[in-house]
Amino acid sequence: MLVIPCPYCGPRPELEFRYGGEAHIARPEDPSTLDDEAWGAFLYLRSNPKGLHAERWRHIHGCARYFNVVRDTISDTILASYKVGEAKPDMDALARILAGGPRAAAGEEKSK
């Protein structure tokens, strides 16, 4: 079971959360200005990377808030957890921390 760090409540077991898909996909300010292709891309195209992935989680059985997490989709290591509206972390820097092994990654996550 993953242990997910909620930026409001702290680390909690995965059971308390609901996955929310890829993060940082903002709804266009005025959807009517998008052509079908651009709108389709907003609706359906997701990056699905093998590696670091910024994704949304909701602490549904806790504070009920949405927040963002950077997770390595290979090892499930969580490298960052931050509130909605905060900037996406430097993914290259996180990748370097991940390369340092699970303890380095845990230290990074703790210091957040």
Partner: protein, 1002 residues
């Protein structure tokens, strides 16, 4: 006395506590501290079961969790019966009842053993080849036959009467394994002040030290040292010790699954104890000190009872004080077996010879064996064994450089001890996604780079010498504590003496024997009856990947998951393909490490607690009235209220008529309810729903439609505006959580600037629907402070007042097409108000109705049910809800999608009504609709029936359907093909009753 093979002294058994037990109906004696295996060995019994495929007699092979052969059924009755219990792990208790498996009529004489003679017909993958013809016979004959012949234990016939509990725990350092490395690791971590948990699968801690009689640690005997360590750990408040606890699974983020056995060793378990406790431990750091497994030698007839792992025999002698035999031949390729031979000899077992595959064995252990007068035969192999139910002799031969066998001779013995080396137990490390590394000298995989906050210690990472194992344990324990943020551990050394250092080198694969390889059975996997020949055959047939070889031959499968067999199988594949072992790979280690009871996984989730049930405040009343219930999501809803002698059809006919003619009462409490409040509530509603809300006045209701961003209908429901800044939203019964999550998603992540709060109020309100021409008359006398007249309170309005003295939000709304009210009252008052309304309605013969009648009534009016008419691909216009889309609104969720050209096409599936020619003919929901019933299959399908009922009020069946270009087909005849016929149906408007809505506004 507990058996002729019991040694006069020694062992960790309590000779003051004799224990009686039965095996296959025969009574035996053992001692407290015995396992079922050691107690049977004490009685000279080694024959423990019959093999999976060939029904060959099999004996006890090991002394621990890796046992592949000695599996038995244990339990006093079927409600307390466990099949496939490893004898080596089953502690003895008074009155224990065990039986052997996979034999008939008896273990001694088993008819199924004919399979052994027929074995040329059962090579690897035989069921893919032999039973292919005729094709149909597979399902009818071959498969059931094979299934009944094969297999091990039988599942019990009664429900498990035991209780299982589950528990979560957190610690800074979890140590897995309580042997020398684990104890030292736990001590080091404990001294740092970290919260430590130590789990071990045995009843007492000590691991390999429980069978250590020679070594001393810090001047103490191994067993005294263990006792001291355990006492030191027990004395600390920051340490939790779990014995009889198997760490079976390593899951992400250092979540470890532990299975603790609490009562399997007790004759009379106290009632308060669960049988097992399932732990989920979240550990900061993990130290795996899982030890190692001994590897069998693969040689012809190596499966005869009396063939045993060398170190296991040593454990039986030293730990349990029993002799596995009287005269042993030892077959090995490394030094460990010499230690066993020496210990056995000391216990009075004659060692006929040590056959060592190595041509030049040397070192202190070899010298010690020679000095003890043991006949050491270098470059020698065991090329076969003889004996029916027990080994009588072994054949030894010198092996030439070319692998040929010379100077064969038979040696009488009742025990053959084998040891191909040690395999570090890397299962948990591998489960944690850590990378394994192949160690050429050990010929085994050892842990490489970890993927979790984990470290391996001792034998499970390939260390062999006791001094190194203990030192490593302490160092890893200290390291783990430090990584978890704890320090200050005083450095410590442990002085180990009395053991002879040995070479852990080893042998992998099949030993040379010089016999016809196509005729001998040299077993690799004992539990699945897989021989070296089978594995070579698989490689000849083209299997290259070890994962494929595993699945084709079944090596490494079943309850032991190849603990003793995987490495030898790899060795044989490597040799056959002439490729290095790392190139062949390794099968994936998956949890559980050892079998875990289903009961432990289920925990309390059984019976009534298996699936939670939601009931409404009025549920009890409906149950008392004899209502039939149906499941809607996890809700229990009254389906219909049958009177004596009525079936569903008759009850629904009566209920429908009552609503249309007078008045009915319906429990609508399951409707999802969300209170939307705040300065920007109307703005929020405008963006979430297709409808326009700005102009809806307080006191009015509106039917709202909600889309997903892709434009498809997601949910619907009536919404009341209670105030400028407050909406009472209702959702479908099943959709409530989804709708709230959808709203929260937009509110929190897209429109965080809006001042709106969302609160689920589903369970705050009981909802009593009173529907029918007499509805107003029924409730009028009960209502205070609300003018119910049509002028003051028209259809689609809401008022706040009191009913029966209870505060209410009274909706004038209808899902039946009749004059109707939905009385919202606080849930605690739901039943009282319901009963008051029901009593007041007696004068009008008020009739309770259920969901089936609700469905018929709404279908007569053409009201859709989201999820029944819609299937996630319908836009509002498809189901006739185009009118509910606010055209003037600049944006709402789904708007950009529904204006796409695709959704304007006239041939989209549209909702229509269908009428059959024969009034009594009720179409099947889900049935397909075609234009030409004579078209050969595959037919061109135009759509499907979504709702279909008998309408007793209309005297005709009615149906709703989604049909391509349906609205342009009004009046056409289409067909619903059914087996043997096609039912003609007329396409009509999807509203069958009171088209003008006169009754609604009554």
């Amino acid at each position: 006395m507990s058996g002729a093979y019991r040694l006069p002294s020694g062992g960790r058994i309590n000779r003051q506590k004799p224990i009686s037990f039965t095996f296959d109906g025969k009574k035996y004696q053992g001692f407290e501290g015995d396992t079922l295996a050691s107690a049977l060995i004490a009685n000279g019994v080694l024959l423990a079961g019959r093999s999976f495929k060939y029904h060959r007699p099999r004996g006890i092979l090991s002394a621990g969790a890796d046992e592949p052969n000695a599996l038995v059924g244990v339990g006093r009755d079927q409600a307390h019966y466990t099949p496939n219990v490893r004898m080596t792990m089953q502690e003895l208790y008074d009155g224990l009842v065990a039986e052997s498996q996979n034999r008939w009529p008896s273990l001694m004489f088993d008819v199924g053993a004919i399979n052994d003679m027929l074995s040329p017909f059962f090579p690897a993958g035989f069921y893919y080849k032999t039973f292919m013809w005729p094709r149909k016979a597979w399902d009818a004959f071959y498969e059931p036959k094979i299934r009944s012949m094969a297999g091990l234990g039988k599942a019990p016939t009664e429900a498990d009467a035991d209780r299982y509990s589950q528990r979560y725990a957190h610690c800074d350092v979890l140590v897995i394994g309580g042997g020398p490395a684990g104890l030292a690791a736990a001590l080091a971590a404990a001294e740092s002040g970290a919260r430590v948990m130590l789990a071990d699968d045995q009843p007492e801690f000590g691991g390999s030290l429980l069978a250590e009689t020679e070594a001393t640690i810090d001047g103490k005997s191994a067993i005294d040292w263990v006792a001291e360590m355990v006492a030191a750990l027990k004395a600390r408040a920051n340490v939790t010790l779990l014995s009889r606890t198997q760490a079976f699974g390593y899951y992400p983020h250092n979540s470890i699954g532990l299975s603790e056995r609490l009562t399997d060793h007790l004759a009379n378990p106290p009632a308060h104890l669960p049988r097992e406790r399932f732990w989920t431990v979240h550990a900061g750091e993990v130290v795996i000190a899982a030890g190692s497994l001994e590897r069998p030698m693969v040689f012809p007839e190596n499966d005869r009872p009396g063939v045993m792992l060398a170190d296991s025999a040593r454990i039986y002698v030293n730990r349990y004080g029993v002799k596995p035999g009287k005269r042993a031949v030892v077959f090995t390729a490394h030094d460990g077996a010499y230690r066993a031979a020496l210990d056995l000899k000391k216990a009075g077992i004659e060692i006929a010879a040590i056959a060592d595959l190595r041509h030049h064995p040397e070192g202190p252990l070899v010298e010690a064996a020679k000095a003890a007068g043991i006949d050491v035969l270098p470059g020698t192999s065991v090329t076969g064994t003889a004996g029916r139910l027990r080994v009588k002799s072994a054949t030894l031969a010198r092996i030439g450089a070319d692998g040929s066998a010379m100077d064969e001779r038979q040696v009488e013995c009742d025990l053959v001890l084998m040891s191909g080396g040690i395999t570090p137990s890397v299962h948990l490390f591998s489960q944690s996604k850590g990378k394994l590394r192949f160690d050429e000298h050990l010929k085994a995989y050892v842990p490489g780079r970890p993927a979790e906050r984990e470290r391996s210690a001792g034998a499970c990472r390939g260390l062999y010498a006791l001094s190194a194992v203990i030192a490593d344990g302490f160092a890893q324990g200290e390291g783990a504590a430090k990584s978890a943020g704890f320090g200050g551990v005083t450095a410590r050394t442990f002085a180990v003496a009395g053991t002879l250092e040995s070479d852990p080198g080893s042998f992998l694969g099949a030993a040379p024997h010089g016999r016809d390889a196509s005729r001998v059975k040299a077993f690799v996997d004992f539990q699945n009856d897989v021989t070296a020949k089978d594995i070579r055959l698989a490689t000849r047939e083209g299997f290259r990947s070890i994962e494929h070889v595993k699945r084709y031959t079944t090596t490494g499968m079943a309850t032991d998951q190849g603990k003793t067999s995987n490495m030898n199988a790899l060795g044989i594949v490597s040799e056959a393909l002439e490729r290095d072992i790392p190139e062949i790979g390794l099968t994936t280690f998956r949890p559980p490490y050892t079998p875990v009871s289903f009961g432990a996984f289920a925990g309390a989730s059984r019976g009534d607690l298996f699936d939670p049930v939601r009931t409404t405040p009025i549920h009890g009343w409906a149950a008392e009235q004899g209502a039939a219930f149906e499941d809607v999501g996890i809700w229990k809803r009254a389906h219909y209220f049958p009177k004596a002698g009525e079936d569903m059809h008759a009850a629904v006919e009566r209920e429908c008529k009552a609503v249309r003619d007078s008045v009915g009462i319906f429990d609508a409490s399951t409707l999802g309810k969300i209170e939307v409040v705040g300065k920007d509530a109307a703005t929020f509603m405008n963006r979430i729903y297709t409808n326009a809300w700005t102009k809806l006045e307080p006191g009015r209701l509106r039917y709202g439609v909600m889309l997903r961003e892709d434009g498809f209908v997601m949910d619907d429901g009536v919404v009341g505006r209670m105030a400028d800044d407050r909406f009472h939203v209702t959702t479908t019964t099943g959709g409530a959580p989804r709708v709230l999550a959808h709203m929260e998603d937009y509110l929190q992540t897209e429109w965080a600037d809006l001042e709106v709060w969302l609160t689920s109020t589903t369970e705050e309100w009981a909802v009593i629907a009173v529907q029918g021409p007499n509805a107003r008359k029924v409730i009028e006398p009960l209502v205070e402070g609300i003018d119910l007249s049509p002028e003051a309170m028209p259809h689609m309005s809401v008022a706040v007042g009191k009913i029966c003295g209870v505060p209410t939000r009274l909706f004038r709304v209808s899902f039946t097409g009749e004059l109707g009210f939905e009385i919202n009252v606080p849930a605690d008052y739901g039943r009282a108000v319901w009963e008051a309304v029901f009593a007041a309605g007696k004068a009008y013969d008020i009739t309770p109705y259920g969901t089936e009648t609700m469905h018929v009534l709404r279908a007569e009016k053409g009201y859709i049910i989201v999820g029944q008419e819609t299937d996630g691909t319908a836009v509002p216009d498809d189901v006739g809800l185009g009118w509910a889309v606010g055209k003037a609104k600049k944006d709402f969720v789904g708007k950009r999608s529904i204006v796409r050209d695709e959704f304007q096409k006239p041939d989209r599936k549209q909702m229509v009504g269908l009428l059959t020619d024969v009034p009594a003919e009720v179409l099947e929901e889900g049935a397909q609709i075609v234009a030409d019933p004579k078209q050969p299959a595959p037919m061109t399908v135009l759509g499907q029936v979504t709702s279909s009922y008998m309408s007793s009020v209309l005297g005709h069946s009615i149906a709703l359907a989604m049909v391509k270009g349906g609205r342009a087909r009004l009046g056409e005849t289409l067909y619903v093909p059914m087996p043997g016929r096609a039912i003609p149906v007329k396409v009509v408007e999807p509203i069958f009753f009171d088209k003008e809505g006169v009754r609604l506004n009554g």
